[in-house]
Amino acid sequence: MSTVTGTPAAAKSSSLTTSAKFRTFAIVFGVAAPIVYTISELLSLPLFTFHPATYRFEWGWAPGRSGEGPAMYWYGWVAGMLIGCTVLGTLATFAPERFIKKIPLALLWVLPILAIFPLVWALMPFWTKG
């Protein structure tokens, strides 16, 4: 019984680990994530704005409403990053393998480190107040 139920999951995992398409998707998703997220944050481009006091959603960036508490953009940045990177990763699976192999794998860990600088800079009001 356990063998029967365990086989499909194991096969699925195994197929993902050996899949060239998943490799492409994962690499492009990972390279794009810090870029898409940082640009969204710097340019104030959330997918939506959430007003936590009233549970109101608005598409894109919206200011806090008078008497309704603060507006939150982080959920919109996260959703934008996840959707954007999924689209880019999926599109990349249709690209010729030789193009994908030209992407330096080091970008996967160098870009998150480089993203520190603009993200810290964008938070300058927090560092200079008080």
């Binding site: 993902l16 994962a26 810090p34 996967l108 810290v120 107040k129 008080g130």
Partner: protein, 163 residues
């Protein structure tokens, strides 16, 4: 539900779950990072040797699941945080503390974007062409989770959900 427990207790329980998940994630990633930075060449001896002598590849799926679960719990309690914790923190003038919290949310989100590649490279741990990227991805994720954990801890000290 709030007839059984108070609102503050409810959010505090969620925060504790978020914290416990992050501790598990912290442990798994620290084991892995130690294993890739200082691989054991011989049978484990002292505590440090044993700490880094773990079968690191076996942690990959657990790390991804724990990261996503911790992230979801953090995103949930963030709703309450934004109104009942961040505003008093700003009113008290703890701007740098809040700034570090903003950085934490940025880094853990970017870290989540790295998970598919991280998982793939660990599932192909015997492929030498991925050795370097696997090592540094693991170290970056480990640094992110330590940063997030410490900042979250300090924020909770400044003003917790039960305040």
């Amino acid at each position: 539900m709030f007839e059984i427990i108070s609102v503050n207790t409810f959010w505090t329980i969620l925060l504790i779950i978020h914290g416990l998940l992050s501790v598990a994630l912290l442990g798994a990633l620290t084991h892995q990072a130690m294993a890739v930075l200082m691989p054991v060449r011989q049978a484990a001896g002292n505590f440090v040797d044993r700490f880094r002598a773990v079968p690191a590849a076996g942690y990959a799926t657990a790390v991804c699941v724990l990261w996503v679960l911790t992230f979801i719990m953090g995103a949930w309690i963030y709703i309450k945080f934004r109104i009942y914790i961040r505003i008093p923190i700003e009113q008290a003038g703890f701007w740098k503390t809040q700034g570090f919290f903003e950085l934490k949310e940025h880094f853990v989100t970017i870290g989540m974007g790295l998970l598919p590649a991280y998982w793939y490279f660990w599932k192909n741990a015997r492929d030498p062409q991925y050795e370097s990227v696997r090592k540094w991805l693991t170290v970056v994720l480990c640094v992110i989770i330590w940063f997030g954990f410490l900042v979250g801890h300090v924020i909770n000290n400044v003003r917790g959900y039960g305040s």
